[in-house]
């Protein structure tokens, strides 16, 4: 019989300095992770807000980006790969829109959703057929392989700062393009008034194709950049896919700023939750031993850090109950 050990994880002799250290470091980690989430979800948000298509294959485009990035890095180096791989993924995205989504558009959103759903499986199988199922040896470029700064003797790699910068730049660029330029105006108009836009002499079909391409390319950028920082292997899409939906639903479907805030929030919540050791047992004292090892003692003794990974999904449920359109969303989901 497995011996029952109370899950008392309390760290002894925790001085105030260490608490401060943990707060500062968790904040930085949370922001870094949040920005990565935004990098991943930006393309998904763009496609949804501009086309109304919930792209289930988004995480697969991200995976394609990582594998193309890995392969091109082998052949021509990281920096050219950072440009070429997203272009390739974008081209695939455009092809999917042109020859897949466009032809089934008339059957409504369910058909589109099912198409992207199937596509996600197809891409995963193709990737594991070509590259196998083991993780790739995809390394951070030598130019960025040094600690950028040190806080409380914890290093922050330059590469993570680079990720942060790219993510921030993409946010600003997208916001300006969509809100302040003619291109953004036409794209937004094409969603609500496609016939009017067409009558004004714009090719609506091409606008949609480009939007989908850009969304896929953004996923590609995320893949190339996140590949070396996380693992590049054929199940990476399934691993990150669900949390992207949490981000965009939480932020409000189709809202770029909402996705940005939601990414940071979820990043911080998850990071801080891991750092906390509190449990019901810690707050109210251990349960009476007569309960024995049962489901009640399990719940009683579980620490916040243990449930950290499911917190985003709890948040998803909560926000749907309290505010169904999400933080910054303008319509019901």
């Amino acid at each position: 019989m497995l011996e029952f050990v109370p899950r008392n994880n309390a760290i002894p002799d925790t001085s105030e300095c260490i608490v401060l250290e943990l707060i500062v470091i968790s904040t930085i980690n949370g922001v870094l992770f949040g920005m990565l989430l935004f990098l991943l979800s930006s393309g998904l948000t763009v496609i949804f807000s501009m086309m109304g298509v919930l792209n289930f294959a988004h995480a697969s485009f991200y995976m394609l980006g990582a594998f193309f990035g890995f392969q091109l890095t082998r052949w021509i180096g990281f920096w050219p790969a950072l440009v070429l791989a997203p272009l390739l993924v974008g081209a695939i995205g455009m092809a999917v829109e042109r020859y897949g989504l466009r032809s089934i558009h008339k059957h409504g959103h369910v058909a589109e959703l099912l198409l992207t759903f199937g596509l996600a499986f197809a891409i995963e199988e193709i990737v594991s057929m070509i590259w196998g199922k083991s993780p790739m040896d995809y390394r951070v470029p030598a130019l960025l392989d040094f600690p950028a700064f040190t806080v409380f003797s914890t290093n922050y790699p330059a590469y993570k700062i680079f990720m942060l910068a790219v993510s921030g730049a993409i946010f600003v660029a997208l916001l300006i393009t969509l809100k302040r330029t003619r291109v953004g105006l036409i794209v937004q108009a094409a969603l609500t008034h496609p016939n009017m836009v067409a009558h004004l002499g714009h090719n609506v079909g091409r606008v949609f194709m480009l939007v989908f391409g850009v969304g896929a390319a953004l996923a590609g950028v995320a893949g190339v950049i996140a590949g070396p920082a996380l693992v590049t292997q054929s199940d990476m899409a399934t691993l990150l896919g669900p949390i992207l939906f949490v981000v965009i639903v939480f932020g409000g479907l189709g809202s770029l700023s909402g996705a940005f805030i939601a990414s940071l929030f979820i990043g911080l919540v998850q990071t801080f939750a891991v750092a906390l050791n509190g449990s019901l047992a810690g707050a109210f004292g251990p349960l009476d031993p007569s309960f024995g090892p049962s489901i009640i003692t399990d719940i009683w003794n579980v620490t916040i850090s243990q449930i950290a990974p499911i917190l985003p999904y709890v948040l998803l449920v909560l926000i749907l109950i309290v505010r169904p359109m999400g933080l910054m969303g303008s319509r019901e989901t």
Partner: protein
């Protein structure tokens, strides 16, 4: 002349065909039930290649009692429920032996299934050869006559690991981080118990459980380890959970020693090399490539040349070779007779030294090695995953020192 030649060719091909069909009828099928898709696929594929290589090796020498050995791959997606479906599928296609390793949750389910099946279907018994599911309960309170384990169980590994740590005075503060399921929980429980007994001066400064194969970024956990002031980390993590953990540690510049069960699995060595933790990551196994023991070195060389991977599972070699010996001893491939022959069997293991299959609980005991990963000396010829780094022998624990008691009350048919 031409006529005789034609006749000979004809006769030979007829002979060959009959030989082939006879072989097909007498094939000894082993169902390999492990993940071939999903998060565990990279390890599962490695295991499959290993067993196929071993089957080829046996077949080149006439198979087992003249039966050709065939490995039947069955994908269980690291899921206990799916494993039982696959096991039933195997039984329906005439399989009498199954082998499995990844995930003690799967292992426990299979052990239970096999036991029930054998009680209900006398004469159609199934044997379960376990090469890697190390949850101690499988050879203790849940033990079964129909289950044999070649990997040292988690308690044995922890016993050996803590015996080694006992002799390293620089260890003062230990942090435990493990996967939140039966195996990870048994690692942390035993680590606490054994460290308290062997090194009462050592402080456990953290004890973490995280979800199995779900974390993509371990930075928050690393921050916590750092804040705890630990100088050593003990972990039973496997697959991407160990690779990503080490990667996050390197990024943050965490300078601790790692005492691990599975740092050598797919992606692990690559991650350690990226982290630049030279000889700071320790692993506990039943064999290492650079042991210098000639038969093992020769095997490793031949295996790498053909399978294009390093030998993760020396225990699989022991398993298949002992299977052959047991069948020969029993003069039968009937599972009941083979099981009886395996009980208490002594065997010279691949990496040298004596091992034996304990009759009381069907746990195999063998010499255990602790090795560290890093720069190689001139004599150490094998690196891992093309990193240029490899495993260096640190300590060898002989069979008698690996013995742990069992609570198993074996029910024999």
């Amino acid at each position: 002349m031409r006529k005789t030649l034609t006749m000979t060719v004809l006769a030979l091909s007829v002979l060959g065909m009959t030989a082939m069909s006879a072989a097909a009828e007498d094939t000894l099928k082993i169902g390999y039930i492990d993940p071939l898709s999903g998060g565990g696929a990279s390890v599962g594929e490695g295991g499959l290649k290993t067993f196929q290589y071993l089957a080829d090796e046996l077949n080149a020498k006439g198979g087992i009692l003249g039966h050709k050995v065939e490995i039947v791959p069955l994908d269980n997606k690291t899921n206990p429920q799916e494993s039982l479906i696959q096991a039933q599928k195997a039984i329906d296609s005439g399989v009498r032996y199954i082998t499995q390793g990844n995930g003690s949750s799967v292992g426990a389910a299979l052990e239970d299934f096999v036991t029930k099946h054998n009680t209900r279907n006398p004469g159609k018994e199934l044997l379960y050869f376990n090469y890697a599911a190390v949850d101690p309960s499988m050879t203790n309170e849940k033990c079964s006559f129909w289950h044999f384990r070649w990997d040292a169980n988690s308690d044995v590994k922890m016993e050996a690991l803590t015996s080694y740590m006992k002799g390293v005075p620089s260890i003062k503060k230990v942090y435990l981080i493990n996967q939140d399921y039966s195996f990870g929980q048994s690692v942390r429980t035993e680590a606490r118990k054994m460290l308290a007994a062997k090194r009462p001066d050592v402080q456990i400064v953290g004890d973490e459980l995280h979800p199995l194969l779900k974390i993509t970024d371990f930075s928050p956990y690393i921050a916590k380890i750092k804040a705890s002031g630990a100088d050593s980390v003990v972990t039973g993590n496997w697959g991407q959970d160990i690779a990503l953990l080490l990667k996050a540690a390197a990024d943050a510049g965490l300078k601790v020693n790692w005492y691990t069960y599975y740092a050598g699995g797919a992606g692990g060595p690559t991650a350690i090399k990226q982290t630049n933790l030279n000889h700071q990551v320790f692993q506990i196994t039943e064999g290492i490539p650079n042991s210098g023991y000639q038969p093992a070195v020769d095997f490793e060389k031949a295996f790498r040349a053909k399978a294009n991977m390093s030998l993760w599972y020396p225990r699989a070699v022991n398993e298949m070779r002992m299977f052959k010996l047991a069948a020969e001893k029993a003069k039968s491939i009937d599972p009941v007779k083979v099981a009886a022959a395996l009980e208490g069997m002594e065997f010279d293991v691949l990496d040298g030294g004596k091992g034996f299959m304990r009759k009381d609980d069907h746990q195999f005991f063998q010499p255990i090695y602790i090795s560290s990963f890093g720069n190689l000396t001139d004599k150490e010829t094998f690196d891992e995953e093309n990193t240029g780094w490899g495993w260096h022998l640190v300590s060898k624990i002989d069979t008698p020192q690996t013995m742990v008691p069992t609570t198993c009350k074996m029910k024999r048919p």
